[in-house]
């Protein structure tokens, strides 16, 4: 039997029970019952919600879940929901401690340098990971990152993402107006008009060219 079919997490609002990815429903019920009994006195009559991860429940299964909670504890069940509705998917990934069980579309991991100010002309940042700037990157400033570059401000300087050769790296800015963009070994310069974009954009490599697209709600960079 999978010992880790569910996990508990206490928050200010109460308790959340996570149903882990990959566990089957009977495992969830038995693990849940066991853990509830163990912790019944600890949790008392706190409010609880159940996070189902990616799974869909039949009406019957839902009933079974509710019965398990009420039979084994005094917890007050507030909601049963799936991750898509509420908790971010990363939660279940983290909980399992391994990303492989999850679709990795749109996921990227790695260390990052956070710069909480504007980079000015003549300032140069080289970092072997992602770089996140909370500010502008002015003309004459340059960032070279082995990972992605995210600018929460206007990027007017030079940005080199994937500087160690990673063509899947990307550059994102609230206003993307760089002097020059480089991703891995692909280089592009600014168009010769100087209109600032009015929405966040990201730059990525496709067919050995750097393309720029607006950031929309659903995308895979």
């Amino acid at each position: 039997m999978n010992k880790y079919a569910v996990e508990f997490k206490g928050t200010k609002e109460g308790v959340t029970i996570y149903c882990l990815e990959g566990a089957d429903f009977t495992e969830i019920l038995s693990d849940l019952a066991a853990k509830l009994r163990q912790r019944a006195s600890f949790f008392g009559d706190a409010e609880v919600s159940i996070d189902l991860g990616n799974r869909e429940l039949t009406e019957e299964e839902r009933e079974a879940l509710i019965t398990t909670v009420t039979k084994n504890s005094r917890l007050r069940l507030k909601s049963i929901h799936s991750s898509q509705e509420k908790a971010p998917a990363i939660t279940s990934a983290k909980r399992q401690g391994e990303m492989e069980d999850l679709s990795l579309d749109g996921f990227k991991e790695g260390r990052a340098l956070v710069i909480k100010r504007t980079l000015r002309s003549g300032q140069y940042i080289r970092y072997p990971g992602h770089v996140i700037v909370l500010g502008d990157v002015n003309p004459g400033a340059e960032i070279a990152a082995d990972g992605d570059i995210y600018v929460f401000g206007t990027l007017r300087g030079i940005a080199h993402a994937g500087a160690n050769g990673d063509r899947t790296a990307s550059v994102v800015a609230l206003r993307l107006a760089p002097t020059q963009l480089r991703i891995a070994d692909v280089i592009s310069r600014a168009p010769d008009h100087d209109d600032l974009p009015d929405q966040p954009e990201y730059a990525y490599v496709q067919d050995l060219r750097i393309l720029i697209a607006a950031i929309t709600a659903k995308q895979n960079t």
């Binding site: 000015r120 002309s121 002015n138």
Partner: protein
Amino acid sequence: MGEVIVITSGKGGVGKTTTTANLGVGLALAQKKVVLIDADIGLRNLDVVMGLENRIVYDLVDVVEGRCRVKQALIRDKRYDNLFLLPAAQTRDKNAVSPEQMKKLCEELKQEFDFVLVDCPAGIEQGFRNAIAGADRALIVTTPEVSAVRDADRIIGLLEAAEIKSFRLVINRLRPEMVKRGDMLDIDDILEILAIELIGVIPDDEKIIISTNRGEQVVTNANDSPAGKAYLNIAQRLLGETVPFLDLYQNQSFFSRLKRLIGLGG
């Protein structure tokens, strides 16, 4: 105790010396005790602009090398009793002074003067390092040109790195009619890049050239020189007063926008 303000720009010829001289006189007019230090060693000209060239006996290098006391090197202005100049050496180069020496000198002058204004040389090398060494605040001068703004940005980065936390921007030589035609950077464009507080905008004004050639400053003729008026306003803002910005554009909507940007009322 007074404060030390360095006037700097990065790019050459944008109006550092003109600004130092005019603000010096402007603050002296407000009865403050002011000393101007010409830190542009080897290329001095604050003395010429102030019309005091023929009175120089000792200079900055003499002071730091101990050949005279500070008091002996200070030249009193012709018109204002409370305004002094510490001239640069003309025959030496910037390496004749170290940042530590400048810092000590500024500390000393600050005891006696309300304002110590340091006229910084162009560039970002030793001369710049010396000029900012003792500064509490900085005024960054730029003109509405892309290259000057770029250099100002570089300077701001260096000032931040040098832990000078307070700096404000002077935009010099603005030509409103060129901005209107779209041929010159607008104040908004400059502020958007530099993102620092504006302390004043000086219009391009031929009276500046006429008066500096005479060793006089336009700020004394604020009534018939727009640049003089603008400098007087900056001097007052340095003294902590709130002075509305000049309407160089005769255009209300532009300036209400500007004021919102720099956080002055309305």
